[in-house]
Symmetry: C2
Subunit: 419 residues, 2 copies
């Protein structure tokens, strides 16, 4: 093979020797077919075949077998990390065509008892083709007027059904509380009871009013997820009204849909991860968040949901930390994406989140942790910001709580079982 | 809830009582949140909450638990079929916004040991919004000039790396052999070594030449999968050159990308299923082909890959038959999509395929079974067409093979272990 390559890393599990299983993947996903065909010359293979770079056996995973696996009597099951190189010439620097090679039919191969795409190394042709996030961390900070410190946000609740005039009150309260960021729930797109145009009108009006009084204007991520032409029109509506962020559910509009949006988008794209679990949660099957997030960043996500520590969903803290690290890792030496920590977040999680991530370049979203604060959203925001200052300065949270009633009350309310 | 509803059917596995697990899903995917929030009134819930319609316990599945599941000591694991109704008013008739509700965060819920979307019932609002397949079975037959009988096709092999001038020879041979349909491999989009424009030029020239001699012009599905604007341009290129079909990898351009293509596409869309395994293959997690294929048809797929009987991939014949049935089932009383049977197909599979599907409204693709016929592709096509005539007339394949050398040779070559 000549020229640039994409290197895909897989977890491969098989009853074949791992090297053979790796060759099956490389063959299926490039020049191979199951019977000899005319014109598949040695020269063609040497030029276009995917190459197995390395096979590293791992200890048994304990994963169950995928259905349909070929399991010869007596064969040993092995698991390993396999790296395969694909020539960029095979597909060109195109996200959808790349996926056909590195994440296409291979999931259906009977030779595999487990198959998971762990990571992708992409050559510079992809950076030349895809501009990546336009705003990233620094652009988002600029728009929020928050040059340092953690970025605090929340999700409008209830998830669905809130009348637009009540949304106005929620936004007013949150904006006055000094929050940096508010977002629509991913369940609210452009439904009849809460038209995007109506939401945009009241939200922007409220943000402007609060900004006139306080000098601070939170970023609001309007969920523009929809069929693509409508999504683009939704974006235009938000931009024309003076909005500063749009939210797209990456999997629901597709990576190609996100890249398409990026080309016509003038605002930061808040990338929601709804539906990610369908390809991340199985043992031994799927696409790891690390690989997926790289593709989403390539496609233009300025913010990307990673979940937060102690979240209510299935991932462990170690997995969440791995996701945060992956999103923060420089891509092509430049692409910046802001990790979004959400689900079950509240003030008390600040010390361990800061200790384990080592950064305040995080957008931490608290739903209940802010809306549910007994003294109101304003106190919820104050509690979180105090806790993050304490975390960064290396203070003792309980000591700081003595000096800040909002934090003390947050700990009393949400801190059961903390430790 | 008032108005139309979408009904989603799930396989749910949990250590909670199934009814409770079902309520967690309904709550998470509509009005619910994990702490009480202001403004989540009883009235709001009664109007917007998703409703659990039925919970049907099933025998133990033997599936392993999904990671992160909550498993209280001593709790019984149960599995069941759960139907949940979502008001269309919650999201409007929009494919991406529908997915947020029926296939969003729920895959990450810790209350679930298994969660799989099995099927969707969609109300007529979706038919009003999405025109569905433009050509379907009858439109495809018209364009192929093949009003009845099975439709026979093949995939250009080698998968990748074939020089365009060799593609010319392959197409000439296949077209002269009387095949109905030829397609690009899903791995070949628009790579530098085989530009789509170049492929279109030589393929159309060859098809026209053969049509002038024989009166028959096979349909050729050019793989136009790419970033969306390029995909649209690829379609325009194919159409302008006189092509009669385009292929799109549904998962790689996304359902929203497919629906977007449908709006600007004048040719049948051959829907490839690359990457489907990532959400179909796990035990107890994912989206079933039945539900996914409905969405792909809604988005406009005229043809949809189901795999074929005895295929080389992981699915059983029963699963493949269920997929074929699902694709053929009328949607909104009209949408027609042609099932595409591929992988390991050859003449000898005709009798059982016909017996078990009961139809010739199938596009059967044979790669090796045609290219690999010892007497050439023409003999491969003749063998398959003869076998299908035999199947429809209820004949004995071996007897028919005595009268047709191409079929006899196919059985000798590919029939090892047949029975």
């Amino acid at each position: 093979m000549s020229g640039s390559e994409v290197v895909a890393t897989y977890l491969v599990e098989s009853y074949l020797p791992l090297a053979d299983a790796a060759e099956v993947i490389a063959g299926e996903q490039s020049t191979g077919t199951f019977v000899a065909v005319a014109r598949e010359t040695a020269e063609l293979r040497s030029q276009f075949a995917a190459r197995v770079l390395s096979v590293e056996e791992l200890p048994p995973t304990g994963h169950g077998d995928l259905p349909g696996v070929i399991r010869p009597p007596g064969a040993r099951r092995s698991s390993g990390r396999v790296r395969i190189a694909f020539g960029v010439q095979n597909f060109g620097p195109s996200l959808p065509n790349l996926l056909a090679a590195v994440a296409g039919n291979l999931f259906e191969l009977r030779q595999l008892a487990g198959i998971r795409l762990l990571d992708l190394e992409l050559p510079s042709e992809f950076a030349a083709r895809y501009p990546g996030p336009r705003f990233g961390v620094s652009g988002t900070r600029d728009l929020m007027g928050r040059p340092d410190g953690v970025l605090l946000g929340t999700i409008v609740k209830p998830s669905i059904g809130l009348p637009v005039e009540e949304l106005r009150l929620v936004v007013r309260e949150l904006a006055e509380a000094g929050i940096d960021f508010i977002k629509d729930d991913e369940l609210v797109g452009n439904p009849p009871h809460s038209r995007l145009a109506d939401r945009v009108a009241v939200v922007i009006e409220e943000l402007d009013k609060v900004a006139a009084r306080t000098g601070r204007r939170p970023m609001y991520a309007f969920n523009i997820t929809d069929d693509l032409d409508r999504m683009a029109a939704n974006h235009d509506l938000v931009r024309a009204a003076g909005g500063s962020c749009v939210m797209a559910c990456v999997n629901l509009v597709g990576l190609a849909g996100l890249a398409w949006l990026r080309e016509r988008c003038d605002l930061p794209i808040h990338g929601h991860r709804a539906m990610t679990g369908v390809f991340t949660r199985a043992h031994g099957l799927g696409i790891d968040f690390v690989a997926w997030s790289k593709l989403a960043r390539l496609a233009g996500a300025d913010h990307l949901h990673t979940n937060g520590l102690s979240n209510k969903f299935y991932e462990t803290d170690d997995e969440v930390l791995r996701s945060i690290t992956a999103v923060r890792q420089p891509l092509f030496g430049g692409y910046q994406t802001l990790p979004v920590l959400s689900s079950g977040q509240w003030a008390g999680l600040a010390p361990q989140t800061y200790r384990r991530t080592g950064t305040t370049d995080l957008l931490v979203l608290a739903g209940g942790g802010i809306h549910g604060h007994p003294d109101g959203s304003g106190a919820g925001v104050t509690a979180m910001r105090t806790a993050w200052r304490c975390a960064v300065e290396g203070g003792d949270l309980d000591a700081w709580a003595q000096a800040e009633p909002a934090l003390r009350r947050a700990i009393e309310t949400f801190g059961a079982g903390r430790g």
